[in-house]
């Protein structure tokens, strides 16, 4: 009897809580519904249509994919697109990592200034920024004028892959810095002090304590930058030459100039699948720090 009373006391609130949770779950769905709807309508549906058309035009079959893999220029450009994106990711990481670290280490006022420096370029149109790079990078541009003034031989920057990587890295840098910063600011800097007090050199303390803890930010930033870089269009078009043409330019050409939606669609699908494969390959890497962390 007594146990029953206890039981009922126990279960009644539990049922209520469960009910509330279920109620909340129902409400939660409606909270995400607008975003979900937007994604389905603006992303899912067009993607499905593009995929469909890559198989259905001009007739049903694999012809567009056969064309893609049977045309050397497509494969060259696909490979180049991934290579350029990887370089951009690396440059962003090298430039962004120390920057994000400094953001966590300075006072609030300085931090605000640093955040502004990252965000202000966001408010300037990408075309304007890219044209500014044209002026800086061209043969008679600012950078080469300085190089010539100090007596060195000028370097070819514009219409080269180097120029494209520099321009893209500048545009994409905030996407690296912000995730890095959001992870780094949660790292307790006293852990570094602890490592130092236990006899680790600064380099070792960084490599074994700080770096592993910051890796989630590195992966998040790298993935965002890499994926955004894959689809870049304006920057490579304006800063690059023929040998830095990226896949988006070829897609644009098929669709806009030749009205070849099938081939354009196939190129998009290939790029998408290649990206997924690469992410799947990179996924185990991002789980690494947790394992090593728990082992130690």
């Amino acid at each position: 009897m007594a146990t029953r009373v206890i039981d009922s006391r126990d279960t009644v609130p539990a049922v209520a809580a469960d009910g509330r949770r279920r109620w909340f779950r129902g409400q939660a769905f409606w909270l995400v519904a607008p975003a979900l709807l937007l994604l389905v309508i603006c992303l899912g549906l067009p993607l499905a249509i593009v995929t469909l058309r890559s198989f259905s035009e001009p007739q049903w079959g694999w012809q567009n994919y056969a064309w893609f893999f049977g045309t050397p220029v497509n494969l060259t450009v696909l490979q180049r697109t991934f290579a350029i994106s990887a370089w951009v990711t690396l440059v962003c990481l090298i430039a962004g990592y120390p920057y994000a670290y400094v953001m966590t280490a300075v006072g609030p006022k300085m931090r605000l200034i640093l955040i502004l420096c990252v965000l202000v370029p966001f408010w300037v149109s990408g075309v304007v920024r890219t044209l500014a790079w044209v002026i800086l990078l061209q043969d008679s541009g600012v950078i080469n004028s300085v190089i010539k003034a100090v007596g060195l031989s000028p370097v070819k920057l514009i219409r080269t892959q180097t120029g494209v990587v520099i321009g893209m890295a500048q545009v994409l840098l905030p996407f690296m810095i912000l995730p890095l910063y959001s992870v780094m600011k949660t790292i307790d800097l006293r852990l570094m002090q602890a490592a130092r007090s236990l006899g680790a050199s600064p380099a070792r303390a960084f490599a074994q304590v700080y770096l592993p803890l910051s890796l989630p930010g590195v992966y998040a930033g790298a993935i965002i930058v890499f994926i955004l870089a894959l689809g870049f269009y304006i920057t490579p078009a304006l800063l690059g030459g023929p040998r830095s043409t990226m896949l988006s330019t070829l897609i644009q050409n098929q669709v806009l100039s030749l009205l070849n939606w099938g081939r354009g669609g196939a190129m998009g699908v290939v790029l998408l699948i290649a990206t997924f494969v690469l992410l799947a390959l990179a996924a185990p890497l991002s789980r690494q720090p947790h394992k090593t962390g728990s082992r130690r």
């Binding site: 023929p242 070829l250 806009l256 030749l258 009205l259």
Partner: protein, 356 residues
């Protein structure tokens, strides 16, 4: 009673014949007063100074006919295709590049009714079944006068001769097929443009490739202008409008007019527009003498009315392509060949553009 009927009949007959006459003999630039009141037309072009100038040229037409003229753009054939396929065409008159009206005639663009358009003042050989020219311009060889002081290049042959004329080259790489340029490259490679074949395209592209790895393919007109103003390339194949602006801005470049490539924009009417008659009326008005003069004055492009005499400054006049001496030197591409081989030619040209 009888006479009254007779008078009415005579009057009616007179009205019908006048109307018929008016219809059978349209005059470029003219439109009946208030004839399009309450109607709306959407004109689509490439934006910027160019479209502003076109709208300015159409002001008289708008004022007189009472039409509401909307402006949209930039022209994208893929967008037009989407409209035609979905049966909801909102673009009434579309300004396109050289080839689309030939490639998509009867598919995206309707065959024009030339009883409604006065084409008598358009330069020879520029009218197709689905289009009339929107304006004329050219691709002209511009060379750096400081680089080639005493021995300037005179033709595209010199442009493609890297041994006799060392230096860097720039040509159009906007993605559109440049048939005229490929033909000139073929001629420079010792080929013939008579009975061209697809293999000749490869030969021509090989010639372009022989210009070396430093060859610049500019993407936009502004891009080419920047190249001239900063002196980045020694010879540049440029649109005449951009060449003029560069010279005005102090670029030390001079044109070699031999075989300048004749290019035009096209005026078209998509299939499925709600009021084809109104669209035809717009084109007919656009072709008028004073409309063309306004266009030339505001955009510096060459008018396509033979008698148009726009008042322009000296440099602009120097780059107008409709003077008799320049018309004599102009080179017309083999549109038929490029339309027939549109896809394969594009593929080959774009492979070059993509560094392959």
């Amino acid at each position: 009673m009888k006479t009254k009927i007779g008078q009415a009949a005579a009057l009616g007959l007179l009205m019908i014949t006048t109307a018929a006459l008016a219809q059978s003999k349209p005059v470029a630039g003219e439109v009946a007063e208030g004839s399009l009141k309450g109607k709306t037309l959407t004109f689509v072009s490439y934006g910027g100074i160019y479209q502003d100038g076109q709208i300015a040229a159409l002001k008289e037409f708008v004022d007189k006919s009472g039409v509401t003229l909307l402006s949209d753009g930039p022209t994208e054939i893929s967008k037009l295709q989407a409209q035609v396929e979905s049966g909801n065409v909102t673009w009434d008159v579309v300004d396109t590049g050289d080839f689309p009206p030939y490639v998509y005639c009867g598919k995206l663009f309707q065959k024009l009714d030339f009883s409604k358009i006065d084409t008598s003042n358009i330069p020879e050989g520029q009218i197709s079944e689905c289009s009339v020219p929107a304006m004329n311009y050219g691709v002209v060889l511009m060379y750096n006068t400081e680089k080639y002081k005493d021995n300037p290049p005179k033709s595209w042959k010199d442009f493609f001769d890297i041994e006799k004329f060392p230096g860097s080259r720039a040509l159009e790489g906007s993605g559109d097929l440049s048939g005229g340029m490929i033909e000139q490259a073929l001629l420079a490679a010792g080929g013939s443009v008579e009975n061209m074949t697809v293999a000749d395209i490869d030969k021509a592209i090989e010639k372009v490739r022989s210009l070396g790895p430093d060859t610049i393919f500019w993407k936009t007109g502004a891009d080419s202008q920047q190249l001239a103003e900063s002196g980045e390339a020694d010879m540049i194949a440029m649109w005449t409008g951009r060449a003029m602006t560069a010279v005005k801005n102090g670029a030390k470049y001079t044109p070699a007019w031999q075989d300048w490539l004749v290019v035009m924009d096209q005026m078209t009417i998509p299939i499925g527009v709600k009021d084809p008659d109104a669209a035809h009326a717009l084109i007919n008005a656009y072709l008028g003498k004073s409309a063309q003069e306004t266009l030339a004055k505001t955009t510096s492009y060459t008018p396509i009315h033979k008698d148009a005499k726009p008042e322009v400054d000296e440099i602009t006049a120097a780059f107008m392509t409709n003077t008799p001496d320049k018309l004599k030197l102009g080179y017309q591409q083999n549109i038929k060949f490029w339309v027939e081989n549109f896809e394969v030619a594009n593929e080959k040209w774009n492979a070059l553009m993509a560094g392959n």
